[in-house]
Symmetry: C2
Subunit: 173 residues, 2 copies
């Protein structure tokens, strides 16, 4: 990723990335479908992490947001370790339309996995999708605040504050 | 769009679409960037419609969801006119990964436009983004229910029910 920061995403070739990582281009493509995927290598782990924490919180039909909130807390603890790395990664993504699209797809996939986890625990529709998708909205907005504000609190705390803001915003008439 | 339904999106060429519409390929590309855009021709109008209704509802910082809800109501009235056409269009989109991506991008653009409208009316962050993005989640889920359920109520009513479900889901502890 350091190469993307130094030269810009468009100007960096797969050959250069592979060389910096001590790999051949062939080995690179065994690990990543394309050079965009390098930036999203953590998203499978993040998804597994979210779904595991959701399951451990034992979602129920009466309060699916409680389990989503536990999943977000686990994700925030894992994601919130390396702020400078996260900040650099996000600035590379924000500067490139293709990367922003890839990010939208990854977020949609996280939401679908959470909704699926809720349904498997008996949460009916549309509640399962609503809880999962608003949860991912909170994750994205909290993450953006965390990387964007120089003196931001830690990510789990911002996540909880954002979840509280969501409750206030959606409950107002 | 009828060609996409008859032959599938991948199998339909721009030349065939243009011929059916009585256009040359050159004229086609003056109106649409690519053949995916044909399916999203209405999204600029939808966005203008949402933003106009949001402004007319005069959003305020204390209850941004009230204005978002008015915007969704206007959108639902406009979108809810042609159920069979909407159903066919959605089945073409759902069958193709590129089209699903394009749809995610259009939805993100709607959310960004709503958030921008709220901020211009003095709604602070993160409330503006939370209200806008959860509003678009409600729009997408309500639309999916409306096209997917054979005996569904009309779209404005499903939109209001989905918004009520959102409030219940996010307020539960």
């Amino acid at each position: 990723m350091q190469l993307y920061v130094e030269r810009g995403f468009e100007q960096t070739t797969v050959a250069e990335i592979a060389k910096r990582a001590g790999l051949t281009a062939r080995t690179f493509f065994r690990h990543f479908a394309d050079k965009r995927e390098v930036l999203f290598a953590g998203s499978a782990d993040l998804q597994a992490n979210l779904v595991r924490a959701l399951g451990e919180a034992a979602p129920d039909a009466a309060s699916p947001m409680r389990a989503v909130s536990a999943a977000l807390d686990a994700a925030a603890t894992a994601l919130g370790q390396h702020r400078e790395h996260s900040r650099q990664r996000q600035s590379v993504i924000n500067a490139n339309a293709d990367l922003r699209e890839r990010e939208l797809i990854k977020l949609a996939s996280l939401a679908a996995a959470l909704a699926d986890g809720l349904r498997r625990h008996g949460v009916p529709e549309p509640d399962a999708s609503l809880a999962a998708e608003t949860g991912i909205v909170v994750l994205r907005i909290a993450f953006e605040r965390w990387v964007g504000e120089p003196h931001a609190a830690d990510l789990p705390q911002i996540m909880r504050e954002t979840l509280d803001s969501l409750k206030t915003v959606t409950s107002a008439r």
